[in-house]
């Protein structure tokens, strides 16, 4: 693995600043009822986990995740306008306003989506990786999965299938300490989540401090190389969610111990600060560039809000029905006097 260049590191910072700005803006918009969906799970605090690991990928590789997907979409290069418009359920949203916060995707970026059923995307990841194996391509599928999700049957069956079929999946367990309100320790008999790999004979790349983008990148690079050549890999990212489980997670701030915990993470393990320090330690003062990135993030996100608010809503029955199926919608109505098949 080549050590990342200065430009590369600066670009990571750009990505992380964009995510942070985007997520915090979403949070504000939600409080202002300008984003109205009941589910909105933010990636604030997780930035280095996504940025550091996806930096190990090449363009033809694949990425899939759960509902905490805004950051992933932005890292892969999805247009902030399309992402923000999706939050507001607009026609110009990445998913035409039908998917919302939990269902971003971009075929053009090999981003296979955000999924709302815990664990539901894991066999899809294996299936996407299977296509690569089937066709003899050496593209890998990077798959993000929460700590809580590792307790679901989907996790077990998907990882095992990836093992026996040698599927090139990097299973990244984003361990942010909680599934909703449940600590890892209360949910998993094995609390070192990477060790679950042993149950499938999958190569275990251990635990990584995922607030440190460089540490993440290093392990991810090894795992990607391994997956490309051999088969599945597991990595555990230790990270933290800054905004609770989701925006409707109201009790979050009411638990004092949790607030202290959060404060400590923000003070001591803030991913943007850690990266900034790393860059400056190696390359000297780059604060101007970083400030420029922060400023640019503000502009991009502000503009995305304008774009989204100016965009049209999907309207009417056609918009509702379209894309239920490929081809004619074949819509059922109780009062239809003719069916779909016969003319």
């Amino acid at each position: 693995m080549p050590s990342p260049s200065k430009d590369m590191l600066l670009d990571w910072y750009r990505q992380m600043a964009l995510i942070r700005e985007f997520e915090e803006t979403c949070h504000q918009l939600y409080l202002q009822k300008r984003i109205t969906g009941v589910y909105l799970h933010l990636y604030s605090g997780h930035e280095a986990s996504g940025v550091g690991s996806m930096a190990a990928l090449r363009k033809s590789d694949h990425v899939i995740t759960a509902y905490r997907d805004h950051g992933i979409a932005l890292i892969l290069g999805m247009d902030a306008n399309a992402v923000m418009a999706e939050m507001m359920g607009k026609k110009t949203g990445g998913s035409g306003g039908k998917g919302g916060s939990m269902h971003l995707a971009s075929a053009a970026h090999n981003f296979w989506g955000g999924y709302a059923i815990v664990g539901g995307h894991l066999p899809l990841a294996a299936g996407i990786a299977l296509e690569a194996r089937y066709r003899g391509k050496d593209d890998v599928t990077m798959t993000y999965v929460g700590d809580g999700a590792t307790n679901n049957g989907y996790f077990h069956e998907s990882l095992n299938m990836s093992a026996i079929w040698d599927l090139p999946v990097i299973w990244i367990i984003e361990n942010n300490g909680y599934g909703m309100g449940t600590e890892v320790e209360r949910a998993s008999g094995q609390t070192e989540l990477h060790r679950k790999a042993a149950a499938y004979g999958i190569k275990d790349f251990g635990r990584v401090d995922a607030q440190d983008a460089l540490a993440v990148y290093e392990v991810a690079s090894q795992a990607v190389a391994y997956a490309r050549a051999h088969g599945p890999a597991v990595i555990e990212h230790i990270t933290y969610r800054y905004r609770g489980h989701g925006v409707s997670d109201k009790q979050y701030d009411s638990r004092d111990d949790m607030s202290a915990e959060l404060r400590q993470w923000m003070d001591e393990r803030e991913p943007l600060k850690i990266l900034r320090d790393r860059i400056q330690a190696q390359f000297g003062d780059v604060s101007e560039t970083l400030s420029a990135h922060e400023e640019s993030a503000r502009q991009i996100v502000a503009q995305s809000v304008e774009f989204a608010e100016a965009s049209d809503l999907p309207r009417g029955r056609d918009a509702l029905l379209s894309n239920t199926y490929v081809g004619s919608p074949l819509v059922y109505k109780t009062s239809d006097s003719i069916g779909a098949g016969s003319d």
Partner: protein, 332 residues
């Protein structure tokens, strides 16, 4: 006895609380029921009062939630197992219909399975396609389990208590949209008064008397039906609203009695339209009330699509009172 307006959520909480006090074998388990105080706040305060033994957080393991409850019930406990939303109960379909509902039959009566599965159901809050179902009829397709779906605080209270006390497995589906809705519930403080409020399994209820058309509904459909009935009354049409309350078993006697009087019927449900509640009730009516049918029986259900995120088209897909009114006007 004082009667107060109480949110359905609160009525469910009260029923569960009283049953836990009454019977030490009753316990709750599910995702976030304990420390988080329940995703829908139904088990608020339970952990503090009853402790970790009887208020059990589970991992995100729906198959196990479904199946652990069966084993515990067979062994003599009375689990009330919560699926955070009914969509996640899809992951437990096998545990529910192939185990909870069949264990008694497999072994010809050797075991009882006195459990309740609680689940929050419904759509309309931009939860998007995989989180937007009211699939009670799917579960009620299978014999061996009962399915209850209350439409107000009083019913929720009386039905849940009955469900917990019954020796059969019950799927108890709670409409998310109705959780915050206040409706009258007596302050029954002693056990006798509480028992008076029990709702027998399979017993429907007339929620509004009328003579011109029968609206058959359950859960949120009752709400839309009552709204529609008020609107229709302004046009001189008196709708009778039959709340079946249980999807299995069905209190068809009540429906037939009403239909014999009105000779017209619209069925109202939150679910998808095909192979659903409306299908079954319409089929039963035409078969058993053929001579009383003055018009085709109409159905109002959700549109036959996955649910989108964007609010406006989401609402287009949902049933509502106006759609009920329109359907009634087609047949009266």
């Amino acid at each position: 006895m004082a009667v107060r307006n109480v949110a359905m959520r609160e009525a469910i909480r009260r029923a569960l609380h009283e049953e836990m006090l009454r019977d030490e074998a009753v316990f709750v388990m599910g995702e976030e029921v304990a420390y988080w105080q329940g995703t829908h706040r139904v088990t608020r305060g339970f952990l503090e009062e009853f402790g970790e033994r009887r208020v059990r957080d589970t991992p995100i393991s729906e198959m196990a939630i479904g199946g652990v409850a069966v084993g515990a019930a067979m062994a003599g406990l009375r689990p009330v197992a919560e699926f955070m939303t009914i969509n996640f109960a899809f992951l437990a379909l096998d545990a529910i219909v192939n185990h909870a509902a069949k264990v008694r039959y497999f072994f010809d009566g050797m075991f009882k399975v006195p459990l309740v599965y609680r689940a929050a159901s419904g759509w309309g809050n931009q939860a998007t396609a995989s989180h937007s179902h009211a699939p009670e009829p799917i579960f009620a397709h299978f014999p061996g389990i009962y399915v209850g779906c209350p439409s107000n605080a009083l019913d929720a209270y009386g039905m849940l208590k009955t469900a917990i006390r019954d020796d059969n497995p019950v799927l108890f589906s709670e409409s998310i949209a109705l959780y915050p809705k206040p409706s009258p519930l007596p302050d029954a403080s002693d056990e006798a008064a509480q028992d008076d409020l029990l709702v027998p399994i399979g017993k429907g209820d007339i929620k509004r008397a009328g003579t011109d058309v029968t609206l058959v509904a359950y859960a949120r459909g009752v709400d839309w039906s009552l709204q529609a009935a008020r609107a229709l009354a302004r046009d001189g049409i008196e709708a009778e609203v039959v709340d079946l309350r249980w999807l299995r078993p069905l209190d068809m006697a009540l429906v037939y009695k009403s239909f014999k009087k009105t000779n017209r019927c619209v069925i109202v449900e939150e679910s998808l339209p095909m192979y659903s509640f409306g299908s079954e009730i319409a089929a039963l009516l035409q078969e058993n009330m053929f001579d009383y049918m003055d018009a085709p029986i109409k159905r109002v259900a959700a549109e036959d699509v996955p649910l989108p995120y964007s609010k406006e088209i989401e609402l287009l897909a949902l049933p509502n009172a106006q759609k009920v009114v329109d359907a009634v006007k087609e047949i009266v």
